[in-house]
């Protein structure tokens, strides 16, 4: 093989930026990240981009390639024709830091709000007994490499920053589902999934599943079953009656979403 590819790469920072045209050599078997590295080493030494493992295991090199959210390391050049111009832009949902690097702190904030794994305190380390069929489902969700492509693509926040406060996004709704389905977890996160993490905003368009590089069935296996569990709780007549008669607070038996105090500017 070996040809010169046309790349249009977004360069800029939080203030301004524009697409810049480059011609970069491409060799057999290369992925988009290889070509960006060559561009960086030979023509644009200061091109900002994230990467680590180069094998689809760390989820660092998330970007949009011709408008589609993808990992640069798992997108082979052979899927494009040599005459095609590749447009490389940063993830659109998150604020740009520089070039292809975005500020993904939104995700770390959401992660900190989800009540953590809560095992039965009487079970000592080494004494957990769980069957493979009972851990399969949560294991699927724990394949997540936190590339945030699902967060980036979800239309609830992609073009609606105003929803960010009320919506945790597919990755973290899946984290709630993972803990809910964890056989050794004792907490009940059904109410907060709906009320604090915005499960109801999801209208199962499955965009998240489509872009997941780990091929996790986010919508079918995490979000829809969570919706069913939430609905089951809400419309269970006994739960409804109990909540009316005893007027117990909604958080009983349910951890409250953890809202950290506002951080200092630094």
């Amino acid at each position: 093989m070996g040809y010169k590819a046309k790349f249009r790469v977004w360069r800029g920072d939080a203030g301004t930026g524009a697409l810049q045209d480059y011609e970069v050599e491409v060799n057999e078997g290369e992925v988009v990240l290889d070509v960006l590295h060559r561009l960086q080493a030979t023509q644009a030494n200061d091109l900002a981009l994230r990467w680590n493992c180069k094998a689809g295991k760390c989820g660092s090199c998330s970007m949009e390639i011709n408008g589609r959210p993808r990992l640069g390391c798992m997108t082979r050049m052979s899927v494009f024709s040599p005459s095609e111009t590749l447009t490389i832009t940063p993830m659109r949902t998150f604020p740009v830091i520089r070039d292809l690097v975005t500020d993904v702190s939104f995700n770390y904030e959401k992660a900190r709000q989800i009540p953590s794994f809560t095992p039965d305190a009487s079970v000592k380390p080494g004494e957990f007994r769980m069957m493979q069929q009972d851990v399969n489902r949560s294991q699927e969700f724990r394949k997540c490499i936190e590339c945030y492509l699902c967060q980036n693509t979800c239309h609830v926040i992609r073009d609606h920053a105003e929803n960010e406060a009320a919506f945790a996004g597919p990755r973290f709704l899946m984290r709630v589902a993972e803990l809910e389905m964890h056989p050794a977890d004792t907490a009940d996160r059904r109410d907060i999934a709906q009320e604090d993490f915005g499960l109801g905003y999801c209208n199962i368009t499955k965009c998240c599943t489509e872009v997941c590089p780990e091929h996790i069935k986010i919508t079918d296996n995490a979000l829809i079953p969570m919706k069913e569990r939430v609905a089951g709780r809400k419309y269970d007549p006994l739960v409804w009656l109990g909540s009316k008669i005893s007027r117990r607070p909604k958080s009983e038996g349910t951890p409250v979403a953890v809202r950290p105090a506002a951080k200092d500017a630094t």
């Binding site: 030979t42 200061d46 900002a48 990467w51 660092s60 953590s116 769980m130 950290p260 105090a261």
Partner: protein, 663 residues
């Protein structure tokens, strides 16, 4: 820009313990320091949760005995010493074998979901050099499970602190995308903190703290064909040297036998040893399972001699010997290299690793999902239908900071190290699976050691020498101020090629000498690289600063490789192919004197009699000198000494060890 050079522009933080590195050992150390009530910072070179630990595939070795009840810490200790060719620090190997099960079970209590046995316990898989199935695992993505569990444990602790102290960052705070370029000390030579930059804006920062734990991982980025990411530039190794600590075992670099070789852009990416643990075999271009030809004498008794026996072992390990594909990594890597050199290589210059003819497709998909995914997506190879092409790739450095086995303390007061950046645990060759458990065991111990140290200096906390900060800042800013220098990417690429060619898997004195000459030229070039652009997220600048570290560790590897005139583990000398009992007694220790690296020989700590008694005399004969054997007690004790006896003996052993450290 004129104000940039002033130390007034440095952002300042104060902590009790600063952990540099956010992989397995760093996070485990930080969790422990926080548990001990110490205000702790985690400095992560990448985003939180992306550390190199996510790349670990196979599992964490821990003698829990879930798969085979005969397993115990003594067997694990024995395997570790054999794998390291008896050059391991025996106390570290002992602590590791004893404590690994508790560290793995602890992860489960923090939410980790390992694969299960039929009784619902943690499943354990076979791996090279381990006598019994021992690796706790999650398919072939165990490292990801470990990093995520530790990351989520940090978050759980932050939630507790938010509830009780009103601030999630009160006791444990993560600084993502932050690189440390210098450790700073006080006027009496104690650690006083760490200086670096935060990537997004490039602003400078100092973390003032009496204790620093290095958990920075390895050096693989110094070599061209590597399974390691850009982060592995030997930062902690270099920071330790520059602060006055010493490194040992730097000649021992592990070339993992199975890296991808095709297409060229993925060359070096790891193919997990689990492929072989689960039945995969190595074949040359003639279709021959060649590993049977390469079983060395020291392992002859433990490995099968025929394909039939090897194949029976998978289902009946008690009555058959292990397949030679599961020899320790150094042996397998050298054997593959020999086949390639003999002209029996696969089309792209490697050998074949085949699991497709050994297991049903569904079983491969279940046990090795991420390998299937990786080959399908990157090489267009379906590993359930055809063999993979593989070859050796630089994977791990056994060498690292010389530490006290029990506490992780280096010779510099306040400086600790754990995980890949520390040395001694794995001797001359690390067994697969012993890294993830190493991170947990010694990460915890270093966190404890740092907490104890902080308590001991509470009356006189060290204050950073301001002149050191000014120097650190000037050093960091220098590449940006040069306008007509070389491009750091070019210098780095050529350095990688040189190390690969001249100090790689097989070494020869003239080539290593040539490498040392080349390294002098690289140093000169690196001192003059120029970087365009500013400080905000500028990878060119980051590369330029990392070069100093890579050049230092490259020189350490080359100096030690030239000195050690034998072949052992991750150090193969073509001109000295045999393993020498005399050299087994020697550690090569490197330290900086001014700008010059000094190498000295130091005796290995002795193996306690109760630990020696775990081996047959006939096996020790293969490793030890006649004098050492003469000193062995004539009648060997039947079993290991009691716990309490061994603890007290080891105390005195580590005391004499620390006295030997000449600084």
């Amino acid at each position: 820009m004129s104000s940039d050079g002033s130390s007034d522009n440095i952002e300042r933080y104060s902590f009790d313990v600063v952990v540099i590195g956010a992989g397995g050992s760093g996070l485990r150390a930080a969790i422990e320091a926080r548990a001990r009530g110490k205000k702790t910072a985690i400095i992560s070179k990448s985003l939180f949760g992306k550390a190199h630990t996510v790349m670990a595939e196979g599992g964490a070795a821990a003698a829990m005995g879930n798969a085979n009840p005969r397993d115990n810490w003594q067997v694990h200790f024995r395997d570790t010493m054999r794998g390291g060719k008896f050059l391991n620090n025996p106390r570290m190997a002992e602590l590791h074998a004893k404590e690994a099960p508790d560290r793995v079970w602890e992860l489960e209590a923090w939410g980790a979901l390992f694969d299960r046995t039929a009784e619902g316990k943690i499943s354990q898989r076979n791996f090279g050099g381990h006598e019994y199935p021992r690796l706790a695992h999650v398919g072939d993505r165990t490292g990801l499970e470990m990093i995520r569990t530790l990351q989520q444990r940090v978050v759980a602790l932050q939630q507790q602190d938010a509830a009780s102290l009103g601030d999630p960052d009160a006791m444990i705070r993560v600084f993502a995308e932050t690189t440390i370029t210098r450790l700073v000390k006080d006027s009496s030579g104690r650690i006083a903190g760490a200086f670096g930059y935060i990537r997004d804006t490039g602003r400078f920062v100092v973390f003032e703290a009496p204790a620093v734990v290095l958990a920075t991982g390895g050096i693989g980025r110094t070599f061209k064909v590597t399974s390691n990411s850009w982060e592995y530039s030997g930062d902690g190794h270099a920071l330790a040297l520059l602060a006055g600590a010493s490194l040992l075992n730097m000649e021992f670099v592990q070339f993992h036998p199975t890296g991808m070789i095709w297409p060229p852009s993925v060359r070096g990416i790891l193919v997990t040893e689990s492929v072989r643990g689960d039945g995969g075999v190595l074949r040359n271009s003639e279709g021959k399972r060649f590993m049977f030809d390469y079983v060395p004498d020291v392992f002859r008794d433990q490995y099968a001699e025929t394909e039939e026996e090897a194949d029976r072992w998978y289902t009946d390990p008690d009555n058959n010997r292990r397949p030679p594909e599961l020899l320790p990594r150094d042996e397998v890597a050298r054997s593959i290299n020999s086949e390639i050199k003999a002209g029996r290589s696969s089309p792209h210059g490697g050998v074949f690793l085949d699991v497709s003819s050994r297991l049903p497709a569904e079983e491969i998909m279940r046990r090795l999902p991420s390998m299937h995914h990786q080959f399908k997506e990157l090489a267009d190879v379906d590993i359930t239908a055809e063999p993979m092409e593989i070859g050796p790739t630089c994977h791990y450095v056994m060498g690292g900071v010389e530490v006290d086995p029990d506490t992780g303390a280096s010779s510099v007061p306040g400086l600790f190290a754990a995980g890949e950046v520390s040395g001694g645990m794995h001797g001359s060759n690390r067994l697969g699976g012993n890294s993830l458990s190493d991170l947990l065991v010694f990460g915890k111990r270093a966190g404890d050691g740092a907490a104890d140290y902080v308590d001991s200096v509470s009356a006189s906390r060290p204050a950073a020498d301001e002149a050191e900060l000014t120097d650190a800042l000037a050093e960091a800013i220098a590449p940006l101020s040069r306008t007509d220098g070389e491009n750091p990417y070019t210098v780095h690429a050529e350095l990688q090629q040189t190390m690969n060619d001249l100090v790689g898997l097989i070494r020869r004195a003239p080539e290593v000498k040539q490498a040392l000459t080349e390294l002098e030229k690289f140093k000169e070039r690196a001192a003059h690289v120029a970087v365009a652009g500013g400080r905000a997220y500028n990878p060119g600048w980051h590369y330029a600063l990392d070069l100093r570290n890579m050049l230092l560790v490259a020189e350490c590897v080359a100096l030690a490789a030239l000195e050690r005139e034998e072949s052992r583990g991750g150090h193969t000398r073509d001109d000295f192919p045999a393993m020498s009992p005399e050299w087994r007694k020697v550690n090569l220790v490197l330290s900086l004197s001014g700008e010059k690296l000094e190498l000295r020989r130091k005796p290995l700590p002795p193996i306690r009699p109760d630990l020696l008694a775990l081996f047959e005399r006939s096996e020790l004969k293969k490793y030890m000198t006649d004098e050492e054997l003469a000193d062995l007690p004539a009648s060997e004790p039947a079993g290991p000494a009691s716990e309490s006896a061994s603890e007290s003996e080891s105390g005195s052993a580590s005391e004499s060890e620390s006295k030997e450290k000449g600084h």
